[in-house]
């Protein structure tokens, strides 16, 4: 083959290989049909453009101009009455025939529904991951939780879950002293626990301080005596009475479920509700993951 064509194809090959290498580094699955078609398309662009243009350019070296000139001449520019290049003409005809086939027989214009395709895609997805999701063990849940967290929650809570210096809840700890005092003072009613509302002013002054300090320090050891008022709802250990009210000692699954369903507006700010955005497994995964954050 002509050296120009070889060089051009060489360039095309480098571009394609570079693309594939970079993409592969990102752990992309190239057997996914959309990805595969895209790579094939990219190859077609590079190879056809390089090959065909190099072919014509190399003709500048090897061929000579010829043909019958038309009578007209514009500012010294003449015009040959040459026939169409046959490759071009057949390709043009080919695409026209292909288009007609496409509309009438292949994929009649009204036959495709992109929403239908989305439904199919979801169905296929569900089938593919049904097994993984049904019997997910702790490790799986934690990994799942982490990836969901990084995509959906990290913009507020930070990649490490630390709440970005007070911009959102610091999920590595349960609650700060200020937050507990804030709830004690104002009460709270938004998470939708069976117990309903927590009334304001359950404690005050010294007592409130003591309770808040205990909770903020991780609810370790026996609670202060003042906690008795709280215990009636949150349980003697503060763990929320089997899901009747929030667990004050850790992010257990019911808590995460309630927060994701209802959202929450607290002392720090507002957390949006994610109701309907996650499957039950995903919520479980998030809870599992968040619960591991405290250990780090």
């Amino acid at each position: 083959m002509n050296s120009l064509i070889v060089k051009a194809l060489g360039f095309a090959a480098i571009l394609i290989i570079a693309t594939i290498v970079v993409v592969k580094q990102m752990h992309i699955d190239l057997s996914d049909p959309i990805n595969a078609i895209t790579i094939i398309g990219a190859i077609a662009i590079a190879v056809l453009t390089a090959g065909v243009s190099a072919k014509y350019i190399s003709q500048m070296k090897s061929d000579t101009a010829s043909g019958e000139l038309a009578d007209e001449n514009w500012d010294g520019i003449g015009e040959y009455k040459n026939e169409l290049p046959s490759g071009w003409a057949y390709a043009f005809l080919g695409t026209i025939v292909w288009a007609l086939w496409y509309w009438t027989i292949g994929y009649p214009v009204d036959a495709f529904s992109q929403i239908g395709q989305w439904n199919e895609e979801v169905k296929t997805y569900n089938k593919k991951f049904e097994e993984v999701h049904k019997n997910a063990d702790q490790a799986t849940l934690q990994q799942m939780g982490e990836s969901i967290f990084l995509v959906q929650c990290a913009p507020c809570h930070g990649v490490t879950g630390d709440g970005l210096s007070g911009k959102a809840q610091d999920l590595t700890k349960r609650m700060s002293k200020e937050q507990v005092l804030y709830v004690i003072k104002n009460g709270q009613n938004q998470l939708g626990y069976p117990m309903g509302a927590m009334p304001p002013g359950m404690a005050s002054g010294e007592a409130a301080e003591k309770i808040a300090t205990w909770i903020a320090n991780g609810s370790k050891g026996t609670p202060p005596a003042e906690f008795a008022v709280c215990a009636s709802c949150h349980g003697a250990d503060g763990k929320g009475n089997n899901g009747m009210s929030p667990n004050l000692t850790e992010y257990d699954q019911p808590l995460v479920e309630h927060v994701l369903k209802q959202g929450k507006k607290g002392m720090i700010g507002r957390m949006p509700a994610f109701h309907g955005r996650f499957t039950p497994v995903q919520v479980k995964a998030l809870a599992t993951y968040i619960n591991t954050l405290k250990d780090n």
Partner: protein
């Protein structure tokens, strides 16, 4: 005057538009380079206060390069070559001369208003149709004046049959007129409400309809601003510069009518997977693929025109520019159709692969042709030799490297980004947060910024070369018939 006597062509209007093409070319690409750098180094957003963010500057870049640089280039080459292929001189009609100059003055007012309003954030916010309604009105006037000049010159022509370049200029005029009018139908709100800003309007169309009309325009603005008049240029400048006859009339004819017919249908490839009905999307997708051939037809015709002229290609840098322009034109008109295939578009749309495709066309084809055209015209307009061949050579290699860097970096960036958005981990959850897909692009954005610097440097060399040609180039006794003389 006799039809075969040598005419004294008048280039005063062509010269004016040449200057604005260079000026806006520089400003537009400077902004392009800045916004490219901003994506790699975000601190650069704060050089000009609220007027310097990427988002304010981006439409300024597109509008200045399109309506400043490209359109000036179109007018400049039109006022130059229309006289020559029609065999009439602007000097023969005071009226047309007046129209041409008036068009220039109003055009300048328009361009300056455009820059000022966009900087201030006064925008209708439809891509490539950002100008608010008072500027639209002025645009219509400028365009009509161009039409008057065009059909005036045609009416006076001595050459019976219209040369191919004129077909394309006529199409450019009609196409833009039709599309621009419909896309800019808007209601000025202050006129209805009696309160609020006079510069504000709402589109006549809402939502999906607005999208359809907008991309009917947006896509065909590519056709009638970035393609059709540039083909007009290459059909004149390449045969003229090389002294070769156009390879095939039949190919010219079929490519032209094919392009006219097919282009308009393809607009909905900008709306694939949107809320536009599926059948419209399919139409756009299929017609885009058919569009490859009429597009390639012109490019092939030009490459075949150079058959046997290898020595011209190696010796004349202007020929190099134009041959490479045809090649980049082929690249973008194959890349576009492939990106218009629905499955490919699912990846490509919204990613950097699209700006990559765009700049194959605009840097490698549009700007190459305009610069080559100006370098061909300058010695004839100023009756001086082109100042430096070495500069042209250096410019060519610098800018070619720039285009290659631009499109390879954005090609890889776009494909990577598109695939990362879709990627799912082994448990079926999204593999990447959005910001992961942003930070991974940093090196590619940096490479593009570098390519901008290279291209801009080349453009400065070009501007300097033209300036020196006009002021200090060796005087020419006779106008060269074909090849442009350069020192």
């Amino acid at each position: 005057m006799q039809s075969n006597a040598a005419l004294e062509y008048d280039y005063s209007v062509a010269k004016l538009f040449t200057i604005t093409a260079i000026l806006f070319g520089f400003v537009g690409m400077l902004i392009g380079t800045l916004i490219a750098a901003q994506l790699a180094f975000p601190e650069l957003n704060y050089l000009l206060g609220e007027y310097g963010t990427f988002s304010r500057l981006r439409p300024l870049h597109t509008n200045v390069v399109i309506y400043g640089f490209t359109v000036s280039g179109v007018f400049a080459t039109f006022y130059y070559l229309a006289q020559r292929v029609l065999k009439v001189s602007m000097a023969e009609s005071k009226f047309i001369m007046f129209i041409g100059k008036l068009q220039f003055v109003l055009y300048m007012i328009l361009a300056v208003s455009m820059v000022v309003t966009l900087l201030l954030g006064i925008t209708a916010n439809k891509e490539y149709a950002q100008m608010e309604w008072p500027l639209d009105l002025l645009t219509v006037v400028v365009w009509v004046l161009w039409g008057v000049a065009m059909f005036g010159l045609i009416g006076m022509r001595r050459e019976k049959a219209l040369y191919i370049s004129m077909w394309y200029f006529i199409a450019c005029f009609l196409g833009v007129a039709m599309l621009y009018l419909f896309n800019n139908m808007e209601v000025p709100t202050a006129l209805v409400a009696g309160v609020g800003s006079m510069m504000h309007s709402v589109s006549m169309y809402a939502g999906t309809n607005d999208a359809l009309v907008q991309w009917w325009w947006g896509h065909n603005a590519v056709a009638f601003v970035f393609t059709v008049p540039i083909i007009a240029m290459i059909y004149y400048f390449l045969p003229k510069e090389s002294g070769q006859a156009v390879y095939s009339y039949k190919l010219s004819l079929l490519s032209f009518w094919g392009l006219m017919f097919v282009y308009l249908w393809a607009g909905s490839h900008h709306l694939l997977w949107s809320t536009v009905p599926d059948w419209m999307q399919t139409m756009g997708s299929v017609f885009s693929v058919v569009l490859i051939l009429p597009s390639w037809g012109s490019a092939i015709n030009m490459l075949l025109t150079m058959k046997g002229e290898w020595n011209q290609l190696t010796e004349n840098p202007l020929i190099k520019f134009m041959v490479l322009a045809s090649t980049f034109y082929m690249l973008s008109t194959l890349e576009g159709p492939i990106q218009a295939i629905k499955s490919v578009n699912a990846i490509a749309h919204f990613t950097d692969w699209i700006p990559g495709h765009v700049h194959d066309g605009v840097l490698g084809w549009v700007a190459f042709m305009i610069m080559a055209g100006i370098m061909h015209m300058a010695p004839r307009m100023y009756k001086r030799e082109l100042y430096s061949k070495k500069l042209v050579e250096a410019q060519f290699w610098l800018q070619t490297t720039a285009v290659v860097l631009y499109f390879t970096s954005m090609w890889i960036a776009g494909i990577t980004q598109g695939m990362m958005w879709r990627a799912v981990d082994e448990y079926g959850n999204l593999m990447y947060s959005f910001i992961d897909t942003v930070t991974v692009l940093h090196p590619y954005y940096a490479i593009r910024a570098l390519s901008g610097v290279l291209y801009l440097t080349g453009f400065l060399m070009f501007a300097y070369n033209i300036y020196k040609t006009a002021t200090a180039g060796r005087k020419l006794e006779n106008e060269p018939q074909f090849r442009t003389p350069m020192a």
